[in-house]
């Protein structure tokens, strides 16, 4: 049975924990709004890019000598897995769910006898994957210093990935990130970026015939690397929004739990205080009766 003093201390400590989680929740809410705005601003570019590329890919795609970024290397022996997670914790199952999806895929690929290379973006994913797959890791991108992800950050990651592709280090690249659906729902998503895949169902809907300068091939070759950068940028932005959303709901839960705990402890505190008073009274009364 904890003493009254102990209980009081615990109530105080839980109260300050609640203050902190509450503050974190509000900070996450503000950051989430900004992240969502950034994601929205980036949308027109990404959509247009996708439109033009899928149109081009449909006309050039199967031709002889199509760019390797589109056609692939002709094999799929070596897989590059790019896992994007957050730099900080305290955001519920956000990082774990992305890592879990990536891990399932890695196990599957390894089971098929493929070579897997892992590139991590964000500290949390690296920490979780390091335990089992340290010898598969080929690189890590640190975004700790980055306050707001910009296109330049994505371009750097894309340049790294494309450099490795040109160097023949891998055949297929897939990115893993958390797609932002709402504050309470972030969906871990995988997306293959190299070779590029397009939603085939859109074909035919957009039937305008374009002139291409300098040529279809040249435009496509210029666009594909940009497309990779754009997809990575979109993923980074979605990830940032998801992280804040996840943190917000995790901190909301934590605040609520702290509140419940305070209630419970307060009841316990009152009971034991009452017990002490009753005890004292009994002692006084029995003392008086004994006289």
């Amino acid at each position: 049975m904890p003493s009254l003093k102990d209980l009081k201390n615990r109530i105080e400590s839980v109260k300050s924990t609640r203050k902190i989680t509450k503050a974190m929740q509000m900070v996450a809410a503000a950051k989430l709004r900004r992240a969502q705005e950034a994601a929205e601003m980036a949308r027109p570019y990404a959509e247009k890019m996708e439109d033009v590329m899928s149109g081009l890919a449909a006309s050039v795609g199967n031709a002889e000598g199509a760019p390797r970024l589109l056609a692939g290397t002709g094999q799929d022996q070596t897989h590059m897995v790019v896992v994007m997670t957050s730099e900080r914790g305290l955001c519920g199952g956000f990082n774990s769910s992305i890592v879990r999806l990536a891990r399932t895929r890695i196990i599957e690929l390894l089971g098929q006898g493929k070579t897997v290379k892992i590139l991590t973006v964000g500290k949390k994913g690296r920490d979780q994957l390091k335990r089992d797959y340290a010898d598969h890791m080929v690189g890590h991108v640190d975004l700790t210093e980055v306050k707001r992800v910009g296109y330049a950050d994505a371009a750097k990651i894309a340049a790294d990935v494309l450099g490795r592709f040109d160097g023949g280090e891998f055949d297929v690249a897939t990115i893993y990130y958390g797609r932002f659906e709402s504050v309470i729902s972030q969906v871990p998503t995988e997306r293959q970026v190299i070779p590029a895949v397009f939603d085939a169902s859109q074909d035919g809907a957009d039937s305008t015939l374009y002139d291409y300068e300098p040529s279809e091939q040249a435009v496509l070759e210029d666009l594909l690397p940009r497309g990779v950068a754009t997809q990575i940028f979109t993923a980074l932005l979605e990830n940032a929004a998801s992280e804040q959303g996840a943190r917000m709901s995790a901190m909301d839960n934590a605040t609520r739990n702290a509140g419940e705990m305070i209630d419970k402890l307060t009841i316990q505190f009152n009971r034991s205080r009452q017990a002490v008073i009753t005890n004292e009274l009994i002692e006084i009364i029995s003392g008086a009766e004994a006289l």
């Binding site: 601003m41 027109p44 247009k48 300098p214 435009v219 950068a229």
Partner: protein, 133 residues
Amino acid sequence: MADMMQFDLVSPERRLASVQASSVQIPGADGDMTAMTDHAPTITTLRPGVLTVESADGKLQFAVTGGFADVSGPATTILAEQAMPLSEVTDEIMAELVAEAEAKRDAASDTGADAAAKLVADMTALRDQVRAS
């Protein structure tokens, strides 16, 4: 006033302009071209240069470093890697971009050397154009 078309300039991070324009002068990879309403649908890549827009409320100029343009009948959309209003471009920004292009040229392999050298030339031309304005 000539017929108007919708003009959009978007960068990966935001939409820089969305106005009604009568003509847009585009620094295409194969040379400049001017797009007006009902231009034949064209997609062209961009070289570093100045984009000039004759919009309903005056002339707008932007410096772009690359990307591509999608010209279709009723609308012109520019997707620029990096773009900013010409008046905001400073010598420092240009110096940085030129240095970046030069570094790329020096690092380029045989196959990419021509393209990289062209990038430097275009970037330098853009710098001179910025200085002149």
